[in-house]
Amino acid sequence: MKALIPLFVILPLAAAFLIPVLAGKIKGFDKYLASLVMLATAFLSLWLLFAHEAYPIIYKIGGWEPVNGIPIGIYFVADGLSVLMLCIITVVGFLAAFYSISYIAKFTGEKYFYALFCLMVAGMNGVVLAGDLFNLFVFLEISVIASYALVAFGIEKQELEASFKYQVMGGLASLLILLGIALLYWQTKTLNLADIALVLEGVGDRKFMLFTQFLLLAGFGLKAALIPFHAWLPDAHSSAPSPISAMLSGVLIKAIGIYAITRLFFNIFILDINIAWVVIVLGSLSMIFGVFLAIGQWDLKRLLAYHSISQMGYVVLGVGIGMLILARGGDLKVASLAIAGGLFHLVNHAVFKGLLFLNAGAIEYRTGTRQLQEMGGLYEKMPITSATSLSASMAISGIPPFNGFFSKLLIILAAVLGKFYLLAVFAVIVSIITLASFMKVQKYAFYGSTLRRELEKIKEVPFAMSFSMIVMALLCLVLSLLIFPGIREAILMPAVDSLMKMGNYGVEILGY
């Protein structure tokens, strides 16, 4: 079991190397290898999730044992939260890779696409597994550099400009994170996350730590596109090829933004009420302004990108409420409910936003446009796309049998129980505006009359694309099962527990 942990990084990394080397020699090698590797890691991560081995699973690279209780090796740590994130990355990654088999065929340089795709996944898997701060930074850079290149993959004016903007903002964020890491190292003289958690419990310099925390929050907030830092996201996510938009919006901003924020602020730093308020305010700002920016958009992918900001606001809000309650020493049950709601919404958002971007890609593939006004009447022409898009729209706007309803319900319930009535009201209002916005998408894209004559000849997308979309639509339904107590305890609660442990994370990893 332990020896399998590095495979999550090794397999995609090896594929990223092999694809450009061998793709010219063996026909179809690139597309099938990428999908196969993603499928293998997906099975591996699902097996880790369901096998119920006692968490955390620790893999020490090179077998370096701690000396005098001080860890000197590089650790890979798979606890509840990491395994949950791994499942999201690999499952959405597989579906996006499989979808690309048809979608990317129209681009040139296919093999580079798959190589970069695998590199990005290797980076994200590394981020969620890394047991020390510097490796987290290195893997983060691997995944974002691959994503810079993927955003510019179309090499038209718009893609290049979006990629440049993304790189300048991303570079700034990386430097802020690096500065935070340097300051933390200065204070604690260690980089291992568990060790930092232990050392920080004894350090009294609160102001210094607060400054470091703000730096890291700004850095990872930029990566997660929370609202004051969001300017790059709508351009980058809408300019990328659609399977990559699905990966960026569905997975990347969570794996390198939200995951890092939750891991650092729950498990490493001592919880602080000020920081918790900042997180809540960032979350609610993203939630509210994201949806208002989204509703006026006529470019389908830009609209979806703004909704990503808004939905990430829900996740951050849920996690932030949990953080505040824990920092105040309040009711543990409510805190656990809030965090569970946040993480549940994170899982759901990966699925439905991934699906919506794949739908947008399918529409673009057949009609060649992203403008809502130029579509219409696609319901008859593309039944699979239309049906899956309807289910994803209902999921994101919180209509009952779909998963989005239950996660929003948990977050709103936790907000009410924690006496944050105003935030609960905001969450409900934002959900209603989301519904309005997606009714607009459905009306203009799929129903209504066909305005253009050339739309009359289009047909449904090829098998690989419709397969991915159908699987994701089914996941939208199946994931709502996570609300039921037995299943929730098995899948979601280990992740929540690993955050609720707070500072004990260090004790547990280092084993004393």
């Binding site: 510097f134 290195v138 850079e141 550099i145 810079y148 290149a149 510019a152 090499i155 038209e156 004016k157 718009q158 290049l160 400009e161 979006a162 990629s163 440049f164 903007k165 790189q167 300048v168 570079g171 700034l172 990386s174 430097l175 690096l178 500065l179 340097a182 190292y185 200065w186 003289k189 980089l191 300017a231 790059w232 709508p234 351009d235 300019s239």
Partner: protein
């Protein structure tokens, strides 16, 4: 302390370049300068007063060593910086070919 202040000034120089310049290449240079200041800061964090390079040779077993870990980190950060700079410049060249200019005011079409 002076060194840290100078290092911070270097960071601000880079930030000023990124924010105020209109030329893509100058923005890239600004990011590079910020990166160098970060590397410098990492080395300074590991510096011990009167320390020597952490290599054990005959006669230096008892000497004060500087912290080698930040130096190892700096090497990694330089390599990452190489990748980001190469990527930025590649995009800059592509942008120049499409627009025939490096001025971001003329390139800017997205609303963000």
């Amino acid at each position: 302390m002076t060194l840290f202040v100078l290092c911070f000034l270097l960071f601000l120089v880079g930030l000023y370049g990124v924010i105020t310049r209109r030329n893509i290449i100058k923005i890239v240079l600004g990011i590079c300068i910020m990166e160098y200041s970060m590397n410098l800061f990492l080395v300074l964090v590991g510096y011990v007063h009167d320390g020597v390079a952490p290599i054990i040779t005959k006669g230096s077993e008892r000497a004060t060593f500087v912290d080698p870990l930040p130096q190892a980190m700096v090497i990694t950060v330089i390599v990452i910086g190489l990748a980001t700079t190469a990527m930025l410049l590649a995009i800059a060249i592509r942008l120049y070919r499409k627009h025939g200019t490096f001025d971001i005011r003329e390139i800017n079409t997205l609303k963000g």
